[in-house]
Amino acid sequence: MKSRRFQHFLWGLFVLLVCMFFAGCAARANRMIPSSYDLKNKHPCTVKVEVVGGRETHPLWTSQISDSAFTEALSSAIVQSGVFVAVVNDEKADYLLDVTILHYDQPVIGPKIGMGFDVNMVTRWELSKAGEYKRVWMDTVSTTYKTKLGEAILTERLQKANEGVVRTNIQEAIRRLSQIQL
């Protein structure tokens, strides 16, 4: 009788561990904003930002990067860096900046067993002048974020890695955006 109870307890513990292994929290926008920028030019224009390609975090699966979190982080980064004067939400903006998340890694094993691992992200950036419907600049930004050993535990590691890779991606894209002449 006692051993049967113990078996049930072990089974419950196993289910709980499986849930903990996979569950994740969404990457937070405020942690995706770079702290420093390398700018060549600042553009005295407004911009409208639109991001596609992100995914919502499912409570029973790993941490993801959503379109809204990426948009929020990018908008803040643009304003903070000063690469554009302001981010506006209507078509009256001078430029339209369209970002497509083409790929980002979702390692399962590395983050869970505490190893250091790399997270890669590839994004496509398209800048067009509003009203002209012609691309003035397009680039593909590929960045890698290396997580350190012992940076965080279990589910939080992937969340931090996601935030880190978006941060480096935005930082690099802003650097490239500042190099163009508008």
Binding site: F22, R55, H58, L60, D67, I109, S128, E132, Y133
Partner: protein, 141 residues
């Protein structure tokens, strides 16, 4: 028996990221877009609308993914079937972005878009927050 179970769990965990296909989102603009005639714009907008309509039923996988995830807690293997790549939703959103941009372009050119729905399509998350569609209803853009 126990060894097989452990092996199955290990394989499942390794393959978990393989579910679903990689998305292939279209670009916002194609070369020569600014030179498109009204007829070509109308044709492209109509094509994008039918592409989106075909993708729309496959964009929400939360129900099936939840089922697989719950099943996965008990038997692990169903975890393999969770589609977290969301290819259809991402492609739909990219189509929508291009559609809305072409629509703006057509509007500024003063094109007549009779015969097709000439309204910007909101993002899927915006649609959800507006209440979504009820069960049994034909999918609408």
């Amino acid at each position: 028996m126990r060894a097989w179970g452990i092996l199955l769990i290990i394989i499942s965990v390794f393959l978990a990221g393989c579910a679903g296909r990689e998305p292939n989102p279209v670009s916002c603009y194609a070369p020569g877009d600014e030179k498109l005639s009204c007829e070509s714009l109308k044709q492209q907008i109509g094509q994008l609308q039918s592409d989106m309509l075909a993708l729309l039923p496959k964009t929400d996988k939360s129900f099936t993914n939840t089922l697989w995830a719950v099943g996965g807690v008990v038997a692990t293997v169903p975890y393999l079937f969770i589609d977290m790549k969301d290819a259809e939703r991402i492609e739909y959103e990219a189509f929508r972005r291009r559609h809305n941009r072409l629509l703006l372009m057509a509007g500024e050119k003063g094109c007549c878009l009779e015969g097709i729905k000439a309204e910007p399509i909101p993002a899927l998350w915006q649609k959800k927050s507006e209440g979504g569609r009820s069960n049994g209803e034909t999918p609408k853009l």
